[in-house]
Assembly symmetry: C2
Homo-oligomer: 201 residues x 2
């Protein structure tokens, strides 16, 4: 069976950089936004639209009446989101079957259960995450700490809802992962190099 590593990451924790560096060191495939590109090819949806659907769970899109009447849910958008999740899960399995790989986000730890992935969670203190967001801000972006905090909380809230909706589990619960790594004040490059040594065995 191929070696599959899944990375769940808090926004601003450096999880994506950790994953990329780990994949480089281990010389194995790395999938993150590549998954969106492939899904766009397989569907008639744009990458931007797929990205947007993937950051939100279908739940908040229910018409309010559904909750009251308990009627079967029929919403074009809801069905589209679920169909996309299934398509994505199939794609993840294809990738895991193809070669050793690292996959970021996308409930991969849950979808790839049968591959017994090494499930990693990357997290950090809020101040450290704000500092990372600032350091990586695109040219011209100038947000206050409060605005970064709002953005971080908003994105993570949506990721948690998405994860909870499709897996039934709490996104931040350490029991969903094999290893949780705190990147507060850590050098991601060095951290990835350390772990690459373990995982290469």
């Amino acid at each position: 069976m191929n070696k599959v590593i899944t990375i769940s990451r808090e926004f601003g924790s450096g999880g994506r950089e950790f994953a990329r560096r780990l994949a480089d060191s281990l010389n194995i495939a790395y999938y993150d936004r590549e998954i969106i590109s492939e899904l766009a090819k397989r569907t008639n949806l744009t990458e931007e639209y797929i990205h947007k659907l993937g950051e939100h769970s279908p739940a908040p899109l229910f018409p309010i009446t559904v909750g009251h009447t308990m009627s079967p849910v029929t919403s074009g958008l809801w069905e589209q989101q679920n169909a996309l999740f299934i398509e994505q899960a199939n794609l993840l399995k294809e990738l895991a079957q193809k070669s050793d790989c690292i996959i970021v986000g996308r409930c991969a730890d849950y979808c790839l259960k049968e591959f017994k992935p090494l499930k990693i969670r990357i997290y950090a203190e809020l101040d450290s995450r704000i500092a990372r967001c600032k350091a990586r801000a695109p040219h011209g972006e100038s947000l206050s700490d409060r605005e970064y905090k709002q953005r971080i909380n908003e994105i993570d809230k949506n990721r948690a809802k998405y994860y909870q909706f499709y897996t039934g589990n709490k996104w931040s619960d350490p029991l969903n992962y094999d290893l949780c790594i705190n990147t507060t004040d850590k050098d991601i490059k060095q951290l990835a190099a350390y772990f690459a040594e373990i995982f290469s065995k």
Copy 2:
């Protein structure tokens, strides 16, 4: 500065074995119950009594009236527990100053902040912890799964209260640790060997 590793562990997670094996592999000092023996030497208390005090936070021992009257707390036991905690914290600092070491429990991550320890948390799913307790049960002990569950929950509840009382932090919060390791269905010997390789660098 010496290399200091602190291990916080859920009951039944194999944290103590992990710590001991790690210390053996790294060839550094290991302190767990040794701390109680040393405290007994320094005080007039028995090891058994110190162990008991160390597993409970002073809070539940307050006379009920204290909460209502907000009067200053004066309880012999309460003072004894706090004095013991301070004595223990001083001892931990002495040990950390003496040589590289691994310390299990005792809010060491908090007490040894100035030594910038590598703070590890060892945890596992409840079923796995029950199985570990069974496998290590003393000869003649025969508890049901339910009884083991009760014992695990009780011990961890007390550890969490103790930690919260002295540090003001939530015992299970990953942000208090650098690395959280899930030992569910894992071989502790192998796991310790893996991590010894990283930590020896």
